[in-house]
């Protein structure tokens, strides 16, 4: 009996309010979510997820080249983790290749995008093409060092290779 007397009264537990998007929308806009709004939201959501996936799945490579004095001097490629064109003298060029594989059962549309200071020195043999399912190809990047390149300067940039599923379209 004493045990029962010493116990504190327990406050009634309120049921947790679950977040409802429809209720939030209603409260924010003052109107209930219409079918048209739902369709638009779903389409926007799917497009966002698609873009997010393509961006996340893209191959990203840092690209760089250093200008050196001399004639016909070409450095070696120190790493295969980046599109490193090594050391190039004015008037010389170097080529790097990237192997692209499509291991899926769906054709992919491949887009190559270069940014940064090196992008105006770099040529890509194919910037937009279709890659068949279960196949691969090589993308060739060549960098030529013009007469106006600054000696000892390192030109940097990034290369993004986007693989966009075509869903057979």
């Amino acid at each position: 009996m004493a045990d029962i007397i010493n116990q504190n009264p327990v406050a009634p537990i309120e049921p947790k309010k679950r977040f409802s998007f429809g209720a939030w929308w209603d409260k924010t806009t003052g109107e209930p979510l219409k079918l048209k709004d739902k369709i638009i939201l779903i389409v926007v959501g799917v497009v966002f997820l698609f873009v997010f996936y393509v961006t996340l799945d893209a191959n990203k490579y840092p690209a760089l080249v250093r200008v050196i004095a001399g004639e016909g001097a070409v450095g070696v490629n120190p790493t295969d983790l980046a599109l490193d064109f090594g050391d190039l003298a004015r008037g010389t060029s170097a080529v790097r290749r990237v192997d692209i594989q499509n291991g899926t059962f769906m054709p992919m549309y491949v887009l190559v995008w270069e940014v940064g200071g090196i992008s105006s020195l770099m040529e890509v043999d194919k910037t937009a093409f279709r890659l068949a399912p279960k196949s691969g190809t090589k993308i060739e990047f060549s960098t030529y060092m013009p007469a106006s390149a600054e000696i000892d300067k390192i030109y940097k940039g990034r290369v993004y290779i986007f693989k966009i599923p075509t869903f057979g379209i």
Partner: protein, 147 residues
């Protein structure tokens, strides 16, 4: 007077067409008149003037140039005699009847050019060349469909 929804829609359309038409047709005509040349804009299609001009840049050309108005170091546009189009390079030497140009990124100079081939000079404002990056790529791409 209150316009109906349909009338307002069509009026908006007409205003939009007038604005776009004015920009597309009026702007080149205005530039031709103000820069005194039938070729007021040029798209850069090679890297021969790198890094001053990059492939895809668009530059403005100041017309009515002659031997007396150009100087060594100026970036000029000249027309090739064998219909190879236009060249935009830097003047390296001025001679009596001809002038020599060279692309900044090139190792060799161009053959001598007669003053009659001179189209104009790249427009400079406050010591800097007036250029619009990437816009040249758009016009070059668009011209492929026009041809």
């Amino acid at each position: 007077m209150k316009l109906g929804k349909t009338a307002k829609f069509f009026l908006d359309g007409v205003i939009y067409i007038v604005i776009v038409g004015g920009i597309v047709y009026g702007l080149p005509k205005f530039l031709s008149w103000s820069l005194k040349t039938p070729f007021p804009m040029a798209a850069i299609t090679s890297g021969s003037m790198w890094p001053e001009l990059k492939q895809g840049d668009m530059v403005f050309i100041q017309g009515e140039q002659s031997k007396d108005t150009i100087a060594e170091g100026d970036v000029v546009v000249w027309r090739s005699t064998n219909n190879e189009g236009f060249v935009i390079h830097r003047v390296t030497e001025l001679k009596e009847d001809t002038f020599i140009t060279k692309g900044d990124g090139n190792f060799t100079a161009d053959p001598p050019v007669g003053y009659d081939q001179l189209v104009g000079k790249a427009l400079v404002w406050r010591g800097k060349m007036v250029k619009l990056p990437y816009l040249g790529s758009v016009t070059t791409y668009a011209s492929k469909f026009v041809q």
